[in-house]
């Protein structure tokens, strides 16, 4: 396979095409892996995330847009303005396949345009368009204007990637949006795209990636086997019925639903914002990404009342938690509306809600006199019109606008929880790893997540290793979520490596509940002609990618220390089945074992490890 990479020089508004050879693809596959490799080679050490030296890699993978199920995805990689190290995010919808159909397997945005532009890519032809009239507009309006201009209004034909006002105003918690509601949400990469003057990309074309497969018939046979496994699995059925929001009650029952900005493990009103409640109230339909048989997306509508919201996609579990549990907002209609507005403004809904939860705690502490006096006064003054108190849904909605346009307290929320809490003199209120807000599983109640979070290369994340699957669900094997068990370490490491491959090839991670690495070997052999491909090579490729990402942080000189926030290791949960637990014991036990099996020392890969993985060219970073 040859990977056709479109390089877009924004400074000169010119393009060129690189064709990457099969050797590079076999080592890094595509998506996240290829992005990490190119970023480490091409983004200079110390580059300003918003400067012209940073680059944005928008990449598909070899399975994207083929007959392989759940392959409607793409990956974005750049130096993150939120964490200062390598950022990456993944999104579904239709943009990934349409990018391939347009003639390219990936795009690199380089340099910086003086004036805002949007880019159309149609059957290999690239055009730059004036985006001044789009600048300042929300994602939904932007998509409508571009479709008007392209004359294609059927939303299943062609696809748009865009950034919202949050990114234009360089919020560090912005999300790259596509197909209106889908987000490459984490690490703030939309603002890097906006900093280059790019508002949107339209992709359309007639290329058929399936026709480029090595053994088309063999590939179809392999794909069919995988589809049947996924379609018939109980987890796929549950995702169809309730979406990811089914997790609200389940995680709350386990006492691991971070509530009141991680000050509690259970939320009394969890049912009110649950997937079950959503299914019985505002849910109107179910939807899937391109090539999906699961259909986990919710389509919701609030028909009346103060939180009336038009028919739109979402909300997901993470969005409900961050903007509901973390803030103690128990009005589901308000969360449906907040989700809609965050999508339009282009926010990472996890980071946004988590930052609002942090603000609510800071505001409470300011009123109680627990912040430095001058900071408390400043915060109260900046936030007095919003009144960000626990459970205040109107404050949440108001903050979406204020943050997108950096108005008053919104200017500080736009920086993310870490910077917000540091500025107002109470850093411990921000619950983050490497500067990125943690998602919706409290590791004090699900202790394998302490290792998953602490060692996540892009910052606090549940998608580098989803160890909830074995601690709570029992897949592939059930463990006690409160029990410290060394076997969990090997599984976390295996998931990290396997998921790195999944994000590179690229298919949806929801496949991994019902399939394993062995299910992809046939697809790689028949699709790419890698006839000697093995599970061992697949996992080693994932491990290579994981080490590459870590090397980026080592090269920057920070972000490789594997730690958890003080609140999780020093403050025990006050309620629920995990009452009295911290993450200290588990992390102290797990981390040395993890380093041993990774071949790392204090968070840095050892020379032998780089040799083993064929990463000799990057050994200078650790010397």
């Amino acid at each position: 396979m040859r990977f056709k990479l479109l390089r877009v020089d924004l400074t000169n508004l010119s393009t060129k095409v690189d064709e990457l050879n099969g050797g590079i693809i076999r080592r890094y596959v595509g998506g996240r892996g290829l992005g990490a490799y190119l970023a480490l080679k091409e983004i200079p050490k110390g580059a300003d995330p918003f400067g012209p030296d940073n680059k944005v890699y928008i990449l598909t993978g070899p399975l994207v847009g083929t007959a392989s199920v759940e392959s409607g995805r793409y990956h974005v990689v750049a130096k993150s303005p939120l964490t200062g190290i390598l950022g990456d995010a993944n999104s579904g919808g239709q943009f990934g396949p349409w990018l391939r159909f347009s003639g390219y397997d990936g795009i690199v945005l380089e340099g910086k345009s003086e004036e805002p532009v949007w880019i159309s890519i149609v059957n290999g032809e690239v055009k730059f368009h004036d985006a001044k009239k789009l600048w300042g507009k929300g994602v939904f309006h932007t998509e409508k204007i571009i479709r008007d201009e392209m004359g294609i209004h059927d939303e299943s034909i062609g696809s748009i990637l865009s950034v919202g006002p949050a990114a234009e105003n360089l919020s560090r918690i912005s999300a790259v949006m596509n197909d209106k509601y889908r987000a490459a949400g984490r690490t703030g990469l939309a603002s890097v795209i906006a900093s280059k003057g790019v508002k949107a990309i339209w992709a359309y074309g007639n290329r058929k990636p399936t026709e480029e497969l090595y053994d088309r018939k063999g590939f179809f046979d392999e794909a069919k086997k995988v589809i049947e496994k996924i379609r018939n699995h109980d987890i796929s059925k549950a995702l169809y019925q309730f979406g990811t929001a089914v997790l609200v009650n389940i995680i709350n029952e386990h006492g691991a639903f971070p509530t009141k900005n991680w000050q509690q493990g259970t939320f009394d009103d969890a049912y009110e914002i649950s997937g079950e409640k959503l299914a019985d109230t505002y849910l109107k339909a179910r939807k899937g990404c391109w090539g999906c048989v699961i259909l986990c997306s919710r389509v919701s509508e609030v028909e009346e009342g103060p939180f009336m919201t038009p028919l739109s996609e979402g909300p997901e579990y993470e969005t409900i938690w961050a903007n509901g549990g973390s803030t103690m907002i128990s009005d589901l209609a308000a969360l449906v509306k907040a989700n809609y507005l965050m999508n339009d403004m282009g926010f990472d809904t996890i980071s946004f809600g988590a930052t609002v939860g942090t603000l609510m705690e800071l505001y409470e502490r300011a009123l109680k006199g627990e912040l430095p006096e001058d900071k408390a006064r400043e915060l109260i003054e900046l936030a007095k019109d919003v009144n960000p108190t626990w459970g205040n849904a109107h404050a949440l909605l108001q903050l979406i606008w204020m943050t997108a346009y950096r108005n008053r307290i919104g200017d500080y929320v736009a920086e993310g929880a870490k910077r917000l809490a540091e500025y107002f003199g109470y850093p411990d209120a921000a619950v983050h790893v490497r500067g990125m807000e943690l998602p919706a599983y409290d590791p004090r109640g699900i202790n394998s997540m302490s290792l998953s979070y602490a060692t996540s290369n892009r910052g606090g994340c549940h998608l580098r290793a989803y160890s909830v699957s074995f601690d709570v669900l029992g897949v592939p094997k059930k463990f006690d979520p409160l029990g410290v068990d060394e076997e969990k370490v090997e599984l976390v490491k295996m998931q990290q490596d396997y998921f790195a491959f999944i994000d590179s090839v690229i298919v949806c991670k929801f496949n991994t509940f019902s399939t394993g690495p062995e299910d992809y070997i046939g697809l790689m052999k028949t699709g790419l002609g890698w006839e000697d491909y093995t599970v061992q090579e697949l996992l080693e490729t994932g491990e290579r990618i994981y080490n590459l990402e870590r090397l980026f942080a080592v090269r920057e000189g920070y972000g490789y220390q594997d730690r958890l926030p003080k609140r999780l290791v020093e403050v025990s949960l006050p309620d629920g089945p995990a009452k009295g637990k911290t993450s200290k014991e588990a992390l102290e036990k797990y981390l040395p074992i993890y380093y041993d099996i990774r071949g790392w020392s204090d968070g840095k890969p050892l020379p032998d490890t780089l040799d083993r993985l064929g990463l000799e060219e990057f050994k200078y970073i650790i010397s």
Partner: protein, 91 residues
């Protein structure tokens, strides 16, 4: 003595209920409680009972602790306990 029973996800769909209270005279093991629940909600039994036992993707919790890490089906329920039937999920 009241026992609070919660049905989540696909089990919620099968029972038609999020929560109900079952009154017991004395503490009983989960295995006996299952018989009561299955009698009330045959659809729940069809869902979580497979040949050879319970479908491992459906977890039973007692006060938030998976019974697998307590005494399994022999775990006894007492006055005021919460028993949860949890569903498969993905996130």
């Amino acid at each position: 003595m009241p026992i609070r029973i919660r049905y989540l996800g696909l089990v919620y769909r099968a029972s038609g209920l999020y929560e109900e209270i079952i009154y017991l005279d004395t503490p009983i093991p989960i295995s006996a409680l299952l018989e009561i629940v299955f009698e009330r909600h045959p659809e729940v039994m069809k869902l979580i009972y497979v040949e050879g036992g319970l479908n491992p993707l459906y977890r039973i919790l007692l006060n938030g602790r998976d019974i697998e890490h307590l005494e399994g089906l022999n775990t006894k329920v007492y006055d005021g306990d919460v028993v949860t039937f949890s569903s498969p999920f993905g996130g």
